[in-house]
């Protein structure tokens, strides 16, 4: 398809950053507000999907040289790995912990191990969604 989508391309350049920001916000906000790993990952993957649709796959793969299968695998490793991490502290599988820390600049911040688990979830979602879409679209 050789269609010159000038408007779509121009808009996409801006919109992608908004989506990416939203994705990161959703991911981090998940603990206390709507959001979380799954949604964050999904939104992130829509950004990728948008890029792949607007520009062609080769260009984007040059700019974002990730193997999304490996991203998904890394995510699963993280999610399962945090479960085993609990063994080091002699608590049951997948026990999560949280505490409040007084960080410079940020003030009092709640840090929790769930974030790592959620990161794993997000990575799996991104990896799997993009892998599926890429492989279907490449299959001619």
């Amino acid at each position: 398809m050789k269609i010159n989508n000038v408007i779509l391309r121009t808009v996409a350049r801006v919109v992608v950053y908004i989506i990416l920001t939203l994705a990161v916000y959703l991911f981090l906000a998940g603990h206390n507000n709507p959001g979380g790993g799954f949604i964050g990952g999904l939104v992130l993957s829509t950004a990728f999907v948008l890029l792949f649709i607007v520009f062609d796959i080769e260009t984007i793969q040059k700019a974002l040289p990730f193997d999304f299968k490996k991203v998904a695998a890394l995510g699963a490793l993280l999610a399962v790995g945090t479960g085993f991490g609990s063994f080091l502290f002699d608590v049951s599988f997948l026990t999560q912990a949280f505490d409040y820390f007084d960080l410079p600049f940020f003030g009092e911040v709640e840090l929790t191990t769930v974030t790592i688990f959620e990161l794993g979830v997000a990575l799996v979602v991104v990896g799997v969604v993009v892998t599926i879409i890429l492989s279907i679209s490449e299959d001619v």
Partner: protein, 803 residues
């Protein structure tokens, strides 16, 4: 001290690291690095010997799934220590040997990763106190051994051997799992130590005998007992280091370990005594009898391993006689059988691994293992010959090698058991020494075959692939160490007895250990006892039979080839394959409609049936939230959209209408104040619509299906039923108050998980296990789609297989 749990994890970590390490280091054989793992573990375990000998045991618990009583608990006592030392000790020697055996061109990273996986699994089996955890590791040994046997997967025989081993050991393992669950439900615990203490209250339980039989099935398949022994010779397609490790010293011993471990639980049962002893003796006889006819050295050793395992198994069985009447001075005698079993277990690990390595050296050196082509190698391979002689003579039960001692003790135990007046032994008991003795004669014969037909006689260079020469020194280190051990144990057997076997006896007979010393002084010379006469008889008759071998070898031809258990296995496999193929072809029609019909029918029957059966059909909508005008609007729009799909003329319309339903649901979530769900639904809907559009061009032409009236009416009926049931379920859940609502628990999400977002707290804190599994499922689905699309086999590609 580091806990034993960590010790189990170390090989797994090594397995994960090896592929990365292999990339970095290309100049040095990676085996040198892997060698450190078993070496360190061995030293670590060896440090426990003195304290274990003093009677202490070590227990480490890490919670895993405490709500089900499944914890990663490791237990270090005398019994597991013996197995642990064998696994790590022989493991180190095998790796040392494999460095010279496998060339750099082989896929070494896979080999050593599998080997480490296996070692970790094996350590897990013997150190787990929790039987559920033990089961997990047990199956892991099957899987890793499958990978190792099929290491040269280009060969058809390797793949078949691996498949056979996997099918037999895993089906045994699954029956064992059922047995474990039964034991768990009887005693309400999965911990070995607890089971042993409370099991006497449950001897009369109706599940007690079934559990015992199922667990024995697991042990018998793993230890290649008759008639499950057929997988072991096929497994000899594995590289020789694997055979030396898995098929002589470790994996096959797992069944023996299980029997030894469960002796205090089931040992008092008459059926246990007869099954373990009987199957063991039959296996011993059949293995040694069949070994004599083998022409492949490795196959011969495989059958001899089967025979030796049967012998050890029968000794464990005989020792259980001691438990029948509780502790008394008379019954202590029978515990000696277990002592002999453990002693022979160690001896067997030493001499059989050495023999396997010798066969590997011969195979490597001259390119064949066929006895008919070998001969006269003694002058060319003096060191190899010496080791082979030590190993074989030890196996035949001759002095001054360790096999002699344990063989004598074996005879002692069979003779002892004859005097016992329980289990109708007074009539059948005399059979036991006879079978044992006959089997020993055959053992003697095949041991002589190994030594004399390979190393003496005429040297036939023209029939060998390479001229014979001595193996490189590196390859000889490991078997020489084992050979030295074989002799050392003969001269100092009591060191082994006092420090390793006696503590292990305390684990097998916990009730006896408090009353008396279970140790036995092993002596090479004990006067002209019946045992000695039996050995002399074995040597005399064995020599005569060996010399006259060619005259009576014809008896092996009496039973037709097709009567073997091997062909029975093949026949079963074939029948299962063809019939399952038929069944699958019957219902896998290739039409999506049919598959949907199966899914929906299942749903209708199970869910609808349950609704009717449990009388959950009554529901009241009085307490439901009021429906606003806007809700009506969305609902009606969605209904129209759904109905319109049926009449859509083009696929694009259908996709968009489908989107209407999805976004409608998202709108509902917004109205019902569930922003999380609304957001997810919107994004998912968008992504799926995009996916649909991406695939749009490649989908076949959209055409109206013109199906017969009957199909249409079935479709209509099913769709109405499914819709009705969904609505009923949705309405009925409102007033189903079978359990106390758990929502109050989640109200504490801020205190318990520090999360203001309850949905998120539920997903990742309270029900994190579900989410974790969902993520894994998602990953598997993604990989599935990827492989389906990327690795479509083109026409003619399938024929490349098997080339």
């Amino acid at each position: 001290m580091i806990s034993v749990n960590v010790l189990i994890i170390i090989p797994f970590l090594a397995a994960a690291l090896i592929p990365f390490l292999n990339k970095r280091i290309s100049r040095l054989h990676i085996g040198w690095f892997v060698l450190f793992v078993p070496l360190i573990l061995f030293i670590f375990l060896a440090r426990y010997i003195p304290s274990i000998a003093n009677g202490s045991t070590y227990l480490y618990t890490v919670n895993w799934i405490p709500s089900y009583g499944i914890n990663f608990t490791s237990y270090l006592d005398g019994l597991s220590l013996i197995f642990g030392l064998i696994i790590t000790g022989v493991g180190a020697l095998v790796i040392l040997y494999s460095i010279y055996y496998l060339s750099e061109n082989e896929s070494l990273k896979h080999f050593y990763a599998y080997l480490m996986l296996f070692m970790g699994a094996m350590l897990g089996v013997i150190f787990s106190d929790n039987i559920m955890v033990l089961y997990v590791f047990w199956e892991l040994t099957s899987i890793s051994s499958f990978l190792l046997i099929a290491f040269w997967f280009q060969r058809k025989r390797s793949r078949e051997g691996a498949q056979k081993a996997l099918l037999i050991t895993v089906s045994g393992g699954i029956s064992m799992l059922v047995g474990f669950i039964m034991i768990g439900s009887i005693t309400e615990t999965f911990s070995f130590r607890e089971i042993i203490t409370i099991i006497p209250d449950f001897y009369e339980h109706h599940l007690f005998i079934p559990a015992m039989l199922l667990i024995l099935l697991g042990a018998f398949t793993k230890s290649a007992q008759f008639p499950f022994h057929i997988w072991l010779p096929s497994a000899m397609e594995a590289p020789t280091p694997v055979s030396a490790y898995l098929h002589s010293a470790t994996m096959v011993n797992a069944g023996l370990y299980l029997v030894a471990r469960f002796t205090p639980v089931f040992g008092g049962e008459v059926a246990w005594f007869w099954l373990v002893t009987g199957i063991g003796l039959v296996t011993m006889f059949w293995g040694s009898f069949t070994a004599v006819r083998q022409t492949d050295l490795k196959a011969l050793l495989a059958y001899s391993t089967i025979s030796q395992l049967g012998m050890i198994m029968s000794m464990f069985g005989m020792s259980s006689a001691a438990l029948n009447n509780g502790y008394s001075a008379d019954s202590v005698v029978y515990t000696q059988a277990a002592f002999a079993a453990l002693f022979h277990l160690i001896n067997h690990a030493t001499f059989k691994s050495a023999l396997f390595m010798v066969v590997g050296i011969i195979d490597h050196g001259v390119g064949t293992r066929d006895i008919r082509r070998l001969g006269g190698l003694a002058t060319y391979m003096p060191v190899t010959f010496t080791i082979a002689m030590i190993g074989s003579f030890s196996m035949a039960g001759l002095p001054p090698f360790n096999g002699f001692l344990s063989k004598e003790m074996f005879f002692t135990s069979v003779l002892n058991i004859r005097d016992l007046n329980i289990f109708s032994l007074e009539t059948w008991g005399t059979m036991l020494p006879v079978i044992a003795w006959v089997a020993s004669v055959f053992t003697f014969i095949y041991c002589m075959i190994v030594v004399f037909q390979t190393f003496f006689g005429k040297y036939k260079e023209e029939r060998l692939e390479h001229p014979a020469h001595e193996a490189p020194p590196g390859m000889l280190i490991a078997p020489v160490i084992l050979g030295v051990l074989v002799i050392a144990i003969f001269f100092f057997p009591n060191v082994l007895g006092d420090y390793l076997i006696v503590p292990a006896m305390a684990s097998i007979f916990p009730t006896f250990a408090t009353e008396t010393d279970l140790g036995v002084t092993i002596s090479a010379w004990h006067g002209f006892q019946p045992e000695l006469w039996m050995t002399i008889g074995v040597v005399v008759i064995g020599t005569l039979l060996y010399i006259s071998l060619k005259y009576w070898k014809k008896i092996y031809g009496i039973l037709p080839e097709s009567w073997s258990f091997d062909s029975l296995y093949n026949a079963i496999l074939e029948t299962v394959e063809t019939s399952s193929n038929k069944i699958t072809n019957f219902y896998m029609t290739g039409y999506l409609r049919d598959y949907l019909v199966y899914v929906y029918l299942f749903f209708i029957i199970v869910v609808g049936g349950t609704l009717i059966y449990t009388g959950a059909l009554d529901f009241s909508i009085a307490n439901n939230a009021p429906i606003d005008a806007i809700d009506w609007v969305i609902a009606i729009t969605m209904i129209i959209g759904a109905v319109a799909i049926i009449f859509a003329k083009s696929r694009l319309t259908a996709i968009l209408l489908n989107g209407v339903i999805g976004y409608g649901v998202a709108l509902f979530f917004v109205l019902l104040r569930a922003p999380d769900l609304a957001l997810t639904q919107t994004v998912v809907e968008t992504v799926t619509t995009v996916l649909f559009l991406v695939a749009y061009y490649f989908l076949p032409e959209w055409k109206k299906e013109d199906s017969p009236r009957r199909t249409k009416s079935i479709n209509l009926l099913i769709s109405i039923l499914v819709g009705t049931i969904f609505v009923i379920v949705a309405l009925a859940v409102q007033n189903g108050k079978l359990f106390e609502s758990i929502s109050s628990y989640f109200e504490n999400s801020y205190e318990l998980a520090g999360a203001k977002n309850i949905v998120n707290a539920i997903l990742s804190d309270f029900r994190g296990f579900d989410t974790m599994l969902e993520v894994v499922v998602l990953l598997i689905a993604g990989i599935g789609i990827f492989t389906l699309i990327k690795f479509k086999a083109g026409k003619g590609e399938e024929e490349l297989e098997n080339k």
